[in-house]
Symmetry: C2
Subunit: 504 residues, 2 copies
């Protein structure tokens, strides 16, 4: 009947709508990690973790979301980038924006901990505008090491800088520079340049953009958007172009106006002590004292630093650009001024824990820390790595069965048994999920996953309690294999794998 | 002036309100992990990971949140437990509820992957009612291993069961049982008992509660809440009390009514094949074929299983309870019927990937997997473990300086230098963040973190290019230490640490 045809048509249409009503993708700014990328990333984590442990670090794990009020008022202008959880009845929560604020909350909750070196490798979440931040993800990993406790000035600060240098070196990144500055010096500079006290953070966040845009644009933001007098901006401009080492410190000490500012003088004294420790650690060549470094976050109170590689440096000149050519897709990278950014960064934050503490006593918990940005480090390392040499799996043995004829069972049960024996011996093994597999299929499968050794169950040998162990991947030089008693299989394979490992 | 006093009072009051407007805690159902707990949990992860790798697993990492529509319609009654992210403009997202649906989404997005053994250790999120689930967290870890691909029936299923047994054994848990059932057999039972087709999932989710409540209550739910005729419920009751091994399979094969049901017959055939593989793996004693096992999730299509230990078994009898004593805090565990639950569970889900696939070809991606519940496993292991023997840090050397008198500098720069030398040699080392530390302070600090070796910079020895290396923690048997040339320090310490490790 026509009615039935119409109904069937409608049902089809409805079904089509149901299947098409979702897009098959990960949320914007997030991605899946798999295969060799995943192996490479794990290696980066392992390297960073071992550096952290070498410095006496212990690890903690905090929830991926925090009470919303814990995060409130910690991130300045960037607070708008925080992901909120929906109010489904109960507490209001947000995804963590970094690992530092949760660490400070942890310390405030555990006042018996008066000293800790803690590390934490975990994901953080930022609703960033992709147009401004190509390559910056909304979900990404941070690897943090922080030293909390009351200590003699600048000693933990120097160790954290040492960890920054050691970490990057251990990752095979050699051409980095640690840009270093001090919030107290910056505050002093802003004061002597005539920035009103209430405007300091605003002007500081403009200076922070110097790695993304040229001075002229930063000046424009200060004077036009933030109403700073042109003379004040120009004076700031003279300071923030200064960079160097201990020499710059000497230069600043000659600056009577700056030295008469209490904050600047304290910062310069800190830096003098710090530079002596940096020299003792032998990392002075990696450090650049750079007055243009400001860092965006509100909570820093002392030294601040960023590790950059040459690729992440800002352009020295504004490139000529055809203004008539409008960008067509705002999701694309529209700014030539966006470098890869810093690959590690951090600073001292002496008052963050106190913001969470109810009692006055526990409120004094000075902290200093470093955070490695894994995604950017990953891109740098991947570009240098021969990815084809990375194995996604670690299977050592492929268990096969050879045979034929009417009587041939395929030895599936026997392959399961031998595989189990290998697993229990700590050896990784796979086999073909097929009752009667052909030799070719099994060799192809072993080849595909790159297993270095085959254990072959031949019909006659197996009945005599023996299997053949054969090295794989030798091509024309393939050996004939060696018959091994089943009871001695695990030991034999273990020894063979050790030999192969030593050869490679 | 009075006005100034009033203003100051108001300011104090305001400040007090600001500091008190938040509660210092982690969100409900979440917690921080730290110290020795963290070390023990990491060990559990390492053990499980090495078992997964032994079976050829590769790992992937998916975002912590998914598009909301990806999770929709996958979890049956439990969908209400999903955490949603707030709509802040852009896509609607939710926190992942498990690792299985994101894995299926990953497979649908990557149709070139036709076979994969993937593992994934990560946190999942469920807005569970704490009253029903003491000890169940809202943020918790799952450790999943899944085999995807078209293979001969029951071979991957048997390997996944093998991984369950091997994983728990490797974790030192011996007294576990793998309760095993098959969705097709259950569906067949429901059919022959007269459950209408549309009611099967509802009745199945009632059966699923048999590990938490006695049969009488489950029957009540079926007949009163879900309107199943009493005779049907009674007939189901006869089936779901059956458990055993291959013997039960033989019993079911005698059941002509059940065997005439296509679904049941197919399930029973699967189980017969599976039991032969289980026997080959030698894990038949760990497996209990249990018709009462139903599993809550919608997406299972074949075998289902749960690993339980004796502590997680349901009580055989309803305990007498003083009904007059009302629970005062609904957040407390109000039910004696709540066991620790399963410590690992999983099943076959052949149609989940297809739900995401736009093309028909890629829609056939049968999967079977296992998920270890780390929090419960952690509780079991922690109860048996001597936690005092676990070190939270891995520091091997404490670098000290001894000296005194007017000329004594405290050797801080020298300690930094020696520490750096040790770090570069791959040795973990700490020192006191103090310019002129007393010997006692340094020994106490070394003792507190449990460092096994001290490197001591003595004023005279250091000037001769030597330091003292001393074993710590020997109490009265303390050795005098050994003077070592600074250039040979790393080698010497490395050898000493190796010796100490072999001794312990």
């Amino acid at each position: 009947s026509t009615r039935a045809v119409v109904r069937a048509k409608m049902a089809r249409k409805e079904r089509k709508e149901i299947t098409q009503q979702f897009t098959l993708k990960t949320p914007k700014g997030t991605k899946d990690w798999a295969d060799r990328d995943m192996v490479l990333r794990s290696r980066i984590f392992d390297t960073i973790t071992s550096v952290f442990k070498r410095h006496g670090g212990v690890t903690i794990d905090t929830p991926v979301f925090e009470l919303r009020e814990i995060l409130a008022g910690k991130y300045g202008e960037d607070s708008k980038l925080i992901y909120d959880l929906q109010d489904q009845g109960g507490e209001l929560c947000s995804l963590r924006y970094d690992l530092t604020v949760p660490f400070a909350r942890f310390l405030a909750m555990n006042p018996t901990i008066q000293q800790i070196k803690r590390y934490h490798l975990a994901k953080v979440y930022r609703r960033d505008q992709p147009a401004m931040t190509k390559g910056r993800m909304r979900e990404f990993y941070q690897c943090d090491f922080d030293i909390a406790g009351q200590y003699e000035s600048m000693i933990p600060d120097s160790e954290v800088l040492c960890i920054a240098a050691e970490g990057l070196t251990a990752l095979g990144i050699e051409d980095f520079v640690i840009k270093l500055n001090h919030r107290k010096i910056l505050d002093g500079i802003f004061a002597v340049c005539g920035v009103p006290l209430g405007e300091v953070r605003k002007i500081s966040s403009a200076v922070d953009k110097l790695d993304k845009m040229p001075w002229e644009d930063v000046k424009k933001e200060m004077t036009e958007e933030k109403n700073l007098p042109v003379e004040a901006a120009d004076k700031i401009g003279e300071y923030v172009k200064l960079k160097g080492g201990v020499d710059l410190l000497e230069l600043l000490k000659q600056d009577d106006e700056l030295m008469s500012n209490e904050s600047a003088a304290a910062g310069i004294k800190d830096m003098e002590v710090l530079f002596s420790y940096i020299a003792a650690f032998g990392i002075e060549e990696k450090v650049s004292f750079d007055l243009s470094l400001a860092r965006g976050l509100d909570y820093y109170t002392g030294i601040i630093y960023e590790c950059v590689i040459s690729a992440s440096a800002p352009p020295s000149e504004k490139p000529t650009k055809d203004k008539s050519q409008k960008p067509t897709d705002m999701d694309e990278d529209v700014s030539e001024y966006v470098g890869v950014g810093s690959i590690a960064a951090g600073g001292r934050y002496d008052e963050l824990v106190g913001m969470f503490s109810q009692s006055k006593k526990s409120s004094v918990m000075p902290c200093v820390g470093i955070s490695f940005g894994v995604e950017r480090i990953f891109s740098i390392i991947k570009a240098k790595e021969d990815m084809s040499k990375i194995r996604a799996n670690e299977t050592e043995v492929y268990v096969m069965a050879f045979g034929g004829g009417k009587e041939w069972t395929g030895f599936l049960a026997e392959r399961l048994k031998v595989s189990k024996q290998l697993w229990e011996g700590g050896i990784s093994a796979e086999f073909l999920y097929k009752s009667k597999p052909k030799p070719r299929q099994q060799f192809d499968a072993a080849d595909k996953i790159g297993a270095p050794v085959a254990v072959i169950l031949g019909q006659e040998e197996y009945e005599q309690g023996k299997v053949k162990v054969k090295e794989l991947g030798l091509g024309e030089n393939a050996d004939e294999g060696k018959d091994v008693e089943i009871e001695k299989l695990v030991d034999h394979v273990r020894r063979l794998l050790l030999t192969l490992k030593q050869q490679s």
